[in-house]
């Protein structure tokens, strides 16, 4: 290698190193500017809501707010449970057993995010062709298990993480 070439190589190395190290720094600065738009620590901390369910009669439902979204809590009658379980899974656009959508031994309690999986509207209860919910925005029909049956929504309504704290209290989140 001639002296001249060596010189060039060292220069190239310096410039490449400067650019690389500089680019790493720019990246490190950009991340906080992006991450600041993510939910802040106060938002993250509000992740659980406890609900008193002692006042809900069979066949009735309530809606509570969790993380700014409605959650439907429905106490289903034995007939409604039977209806939900008699459906042929092959008829469902998003096949899922009713048993998978409730807690074992607590079959009467359906807890789900009241958000249509199409574009985020809140479906109306006791409406639609399947005795469940009906989304007025674009006509999605859900059954009594909250599963999509007809319309543009692609999937069943989402079941959030929840647990029974005691017989009268459900903790969502």
């Amino acid at each position: 290698m001639s002296k001249e070439e060596k010189k060039v190589n060292r220069r190239d190395f310096l410039f490449t190193a400067s650019y690389t190290v500089g680019a790493v720094g720019v990246g490190a600065v950009i991340w906080p500017m992006i991450d600041q738009m993510n939910p802040d620590k106060a938002q993250q901390a509000l992740a659980t809501t406890e609900v008193d369910i002692s006042q809900i009669e069979p066949g009735k439902s309530i809606t509570v707010l969790w993380r700014g979204k409605p959650v439907f809590l429905k106490r289903r009658t034995p007939e409604e449970i039977a209806e939900a379980r008699s459906v042929n899974l092959d008829d469902l656009p998003d096949p899922q057993k009713d048993e998978e959508r409730v807690k074992e031994g607590k079959d009467e309690w359906l807890v789900m995010l009241g958000v249509c999986t199409h574009l985020g509207c809140v479906p109306l209860k006791d409406k639609g062709d399947y005795n469940g919910w009906f989304c007025p925005c674009h006509g999605s029909h859900y059954d009594v298990s909250g599963r999509i049956r007809k319309g543009p929504a692609p999937t069943n309504m989402e079941i959030p993480k929840f647990e029974f704290v005691d017989t009268n209290t459900i903790k969502i989140g």
Binding site: P32, M33, Q36, D40, K41, A42
Partner: protein, 419 residues
């Protein structure tokens, strides 16, 4: 080089450039012939651009979390500091960034004063720069009001009351500024709106500032006119960009030192007490960068007189190019003016110092002496010294520092033309 000569290599580039000559602009900025003897004092233009962009970016981010309401502003700032991801970092960069911005702009201004960069043919650059400086002060003042602490509130009260010194309509103007009968929620709301607006006005003026600069080209430490391009110049990129980058990094180290290790040292502890219209803090002081003007304001025992003098202290700078009678730009070759320049620097620093002190006793005396010198410097010293001073011989070109023996910068140009 000439702008017309540039043709993009690619077909697509040529197609686009014929319709919007952005590539020509890019080539112009890249190849722009710059005096090769620019020293580090010339890097502050780039540093100031960095400061402006930093303030705009962090400011937009903060505005996503800040609430401009008298009841919620203080709490929303605490929310930013405690809960928002990297909120503390972004807010401390923004608040210290204001101080760093002013530090850089003062160095930039004094560099211009020392090397005569405000003189013909660069008067318009200078005046646009002063307009930027005025807007910076307005933005900084309104920004300081936003956290709605005690200093925010009382600073806003004191500064807006300056306008009440105007005869006849003063009180109406003050009430109009407030949108209430004191500094209150409407004031905070409009200050937030204007604080968001002003940086973009500054950005527009910066474009004009650089445009105006690119007509005559940079001044330089020797202060002589130079041929562009010539052996006295280097292309802007990479020579000036790398030098600017180096200076910027050194500046950023100092900046980071403030942000990470003493983020509140340039602020005032009272501003962490929520605004209380019933109690005034013991010492109301503006941020450090406004202190010299605050000292001038307080040096006059008359309300209207103080306000007029304070605004005159800024507006006198607008006519500076015509107050300076010297034919030589750079103070390097002006032995007498050079001394006065340093006296002015010390004078302004002293004014800043006494501005932070109580307006009584020796501080008041110093403030008055400092104010008098400040005005004498521009009104008397600059015209008179320009006439009487015997300047040192200036070189004919940067590359060949041959002494011409004369004081006329145009000689250098003539010699260069022959060469």
């Amino acid at each position: 080089m000439s702008d017309q000569e540039y043709t993009p290599k690619s077909k697509a580039g040529k197609w686009f450039n014929d319709r919007l000559p952005l590539l020509t602009l890019g080539a112009h900025l890249t190849d722009y012939p710059t005096p090769k003897n620019l020293n580090y004092w010339w890097t502050f233009g780039g540093i100031l651009t960095f400061c402006l962009i930093t303030q705009i970016v962090t400011g937009i981010v903060l505005a996503m979390h800040y609430v401009a309401h008298a009841d919620l502003a203080f709490a929303s700032v605490e929310h930013i500091m405690r809960d928002v991801n990297y909120g503390w970092l972004i807010r401390y960069i923004h608040s210290n960034g204001a101080s760093m911005f002013f530090l850089a702009v003062y160095i930039h201004i004094f560099r211009s004063l020392f090397y005569g960069s405000y003189k013909s043919p660069r008067e318009v650059i200078w005046i646009i720069g002063l307009m930027i400086y005025l807007l910076m002060m307005a933005a900084a003042f309104m920004g300081y009001v936003l956290p709605w602490g005690q200093m925010s509130f009382w600073g806003a009260t004191v500064i807006t009351n300056l306008f009440s010194a105007i005869p006849l309509v003063g009180d109406s103007i003050t009430t109009w500024l407030w949108g209430a009968y004191s500094v209150d929620n409407p004031t905070l709301n409009r200050f937030f709106s204007l604080h968001y607006l002003i940086p973009f006005l500054i950005l527009g003026l910066v474009v004009l500032h650089i445009w105006a600069l690119h007509v005559p080209g940079n001044n330089n430490p020797v202060g002589i006119d130079i041929e562009k391009p010539s052996k006295d110049t280097v292309p802007f990129h990479p020579y000036i960009t790398i030098k600017d980058a180096f200076a910027l990094l050194v500046f950023m180290i100092i900046f980071a030192g403030f942000v990470f290790f003493t983020p509140n040292v340039l602020g005032h502890s009272d501003n962490y007490i929520p605004a209380n219209p019933l109690v005034t803090p013991a010492h109301i002081v503006p941020e450090w960068y406004l202190l010299p003007f605050y000292a001038i304001l307080r040096s006059v025992p008359d309300k209207l007189g103080g306000v007029i003098l304070m605004f005159s202290a800024i507006f006198i700078l607008f006519v500076l190019p015509w107050l300076d009678t010297s034919k030589v730009r750079s103070a390097v070759f002006r032995p007498i003016y050079r001394q006065f320049f340093w006296i002015l620097v010390i004078d302004v620093l002293m004014l800043g110092y006494v501005g932070a002190m109580p307006a009584e006793g020796i501080y008041l005396v110093l403030a008055r002496v400092g104010t008098i010198y400040y005005f004498l410097h521009f009104i008397v010293v600059m015209p008179v010294v320009g006439y009487l001073e015997k300047t040192e011989p200036i070189p004919m070109s940067i590359s060949e520092p041959v002494l011409s023996g004369g004081a006329d910068p145009s000689i250098a140009r003539k010699v260069n033309d022959k060469a």
